[in-house]
Every structure is written in C-alpha cells, then in structure tokens.
Symmetry: C2
Subunit: 215 residues, 2 copies
C-alpha cells in the first residue's frame, strides 16, 4: 500500500490505521455478503469487528465508501486471476487451470463473489466503472491469445465474449447461488468433491465447445 520508510521495529508509518482498516474491510466483506448490501448496518460491522460504530466512521467516512473499498479489493483479486492466460502453454492447460481457479475461488471465498454479484445486479456505478476501465481491455488480451491458438490449429474459433461470460456464469453460480445448489444436490454443505465434480463437468463442456480434446 505505502512505501516503507526507515523505521524502528516493524511498524509502518501508521500501523494502527492500516491494521484497523484491514480489520474493518475483511469484516465488512463478510457481513455484506451475509446480509446483503442494504440490509447491512454499520452497527453490524462494528459489532462483528469488536469496535464502536463511531470508530468505523472514523476510518470510512460513509457506508458507500466502505462498500467501494470492499468491492475494489474483490475486483482487483479477480482481475489478477483473469490476466494469467499464457499463450505458450496452449488452450487445454489454460482453460482447465482458469476454470479450476475460478471454482476454487467460489469454494474458498463465496462471500466475495456474492458481494460482487449483488453490486452488479444493483448496477453500482463503482463496479460498472471498474469493469469498463479494466476488464474490457483484459478481455481483448485473452481474445488475441485465443486467436493465436485458433491460427495454430490448437482449437476451433469461438465467440470469446460468450465463452468468458458463460465460464464466469457457471463457476460463480456455485458461490452466488450455493443455497440453490445445496438444495438440488441434497447436501447440507458443499465439500471439495462437489466442486471437483463441477470442475470436471464445466471443464469438459468448455473444452468440447472449443474443439480441444480432454487429457
């Protein structure tokens, strides 16, 4: 976040600030995901973080500021994950890895996915702006990579936008709508084996549609 000037011990310029901001941010992400954006009160976040409400407002002026801070940390994480497509290792490896990684994210951090989903459905300007600013260009890079693979005969031509839209839909549905998935699979909780089945299923679907043979 900030440069680290010469300093005794291991304290940043304002270690208290950094520490409390991090605590509030992670707590807020959890509560936002559980309660929804509008239903979440600053009091809930304060209680769960073990701080007085006024202290929350000391670090984040408004509830909207706090929400945007949470969203930014989520979106940055996701952007990093998309940008790891590597043209040299070919479509099978990259698509398999990406789907696996997205489903791991859904399993390990469903809250983040839900916060993003709710903000997107609600068309929060902050999220739309972030997508416009960063994801559109990123998708162009993946499009070029896939074009290269097609030219090399490694896969069939596909509608890249729809490919990513459907991959995101399929992988995130296991986080966003996990309540529905649990009901349909008749399970109280989804375990790693459920996500492994989902990985297999989604990966097979995607590879087939790209004309890539499975391993």
């Amino acid at each position: 976040m900030s440069e680290t000037p010469k300093r005794s011990k291991n304290q940043l310029k304002s270690h208290i600030r950094a520490q409390n901001q991090a605590l509030i941010l992670s707590t807020a992400e959890r509560v936002f995901a559980r309660q929804g954006l509008a239903k979440t009160t600053t009091q809930m976040i304060a209680n769960e973080a073990g701080l007085p409400k006024a202290n929350i407002h000391y670090y984040y002026r408004s509830k909207k500021d706090l929400l945007e801070a949470v969203l930014e940390s989520i979106l940055q994480l996701w952007l990093d994950s998309v940008s790891q497509f590597n043209v040299e290792t070919g479509p099978r490896h990259n698509l398999t890895r990406y789907i696996s990684e997205k489903l791991d994210q859904s399993r390990l951090n469903p809250n983040a996915s839900k916060v993003f989903a709710m903000a997107l459905i609600g068309e929060e300007p902050f999220v739309l702006e972030f997508l416009r600013r960063y994801f559109v260009d990123e998708l162009q890079k993946e499009k070029q990579t896939i074009d290269t693979w097609v030219a090399q005969g490694l896969m069939k031509p596909v509608a890249v936008e729809h490919l990513f839209i459907t991959i995101w839909a399929m992988t995130q549905t296991y986080a966003d709508f996990d309540a529905q998935v649990k009901i349909l699979l008749q399970k109280d909780e989804l375990d790693e084996s459920d996500f492994d089945e989902a990985k297999q299923f989604v990966t097979r679907m995607v590879l087939l549609s790209c004309g890539v043979e499975e391993a």
Copy 2:
C-alpha cells in the same frame, strides 16, 4: 384464486380486490427488480401504482408479504417452464427448446430474474422452501427422462444436477448480470441478435457435452 360462483356480468366475488392486488403485484415486481429488495420502499411502489401507501398495506399486510407474493408468481412461472420436458421428442429438441425458452425469459423479463437472484443470494427462507418443495421433485422427473434417453442411446450419460445448474447459470446470467454483458459486448442495449448468439453458443455447448449432434 377463488371459485367463481354464479354471478351477473363478469365480476368475481371481489373484483376490486383482485384488480388492485394484481396492479400492486406487477408494479412491485418491476420496482423490486429495479431497486433491489431492501432499497425498495412501499412508497415507491405506491407512487408507481398510483395509489396511496396506506392502500398498499390494506392489501398486503407487510412488505415481506408483498415480496413473497411477487416471488411466488415468479417461481411458479419458472416451475411451469422446467416441467415441459417430453421424453418422446428426444434430447436435442428438448434441450434446444429449453435453452431457447430460458434465454427468451431472460430477454423479455430480466426483472423477474433479478428479483429471484437477489432473494436467492440473500437466502430468503421463502425461496429456499419453494425450491425444496417443488424443484427437487421436478428435477427427479428430468433425471428419469434423461436416463431414458441415455438407455435409448440418444445421448451420453451426464451429471444431470450439474447440467441444469450450469444451464440455469448460463441462461440467467444474461438477465441478472446484463450490465456486465453489455460492457463486455460494448453495447448500450442487448438486442435479439445478442440473445440469438447466446442461444447458439449455449446450445452448442450443452449438446456437445451430452454427446448429441447438432441439427
């Protein structure tokens, strides 16, 4: 709703009640979808329906009652749509029809999909109970139908639960997250041709994964 006793003209027992409830219900669905559940105030619904707020509460005791009424009408519509699988016309026709129908629903009534999505993410007990009560059994019927097709050699065996989870995810993403889709497709509005491309893409994916040749 109620039985129709012998009556002059074409009026039900309480035509005023039925009329106003219908007006409030359709207005509420629209506003809930636009504003989100918690952000929607009864005043907004009242304004948009052209009624005083107290009149809304005369027909629906609480905001929660109204939300549940809206959700029930949405879920009933969807349940009807799932239950049209017909074993006699084979997998290709049925899967193609179902995906087309789901994407038509996403295009023509994105609001309904969004209301459901938000309620599901928020794990509204009413929605979960409805899914448990009706959709689980319905899915069993589709499972049997598909088993029959597999036995007839019309398609490969698939994980039916994951098949429907992913079909729902892919088709509803074009309604729920249309804002994201618009940004990635660089369009101000999604038109029928965008949905036709989505239909083609999703249908091809699903049919390939089921081992069904395309038409």
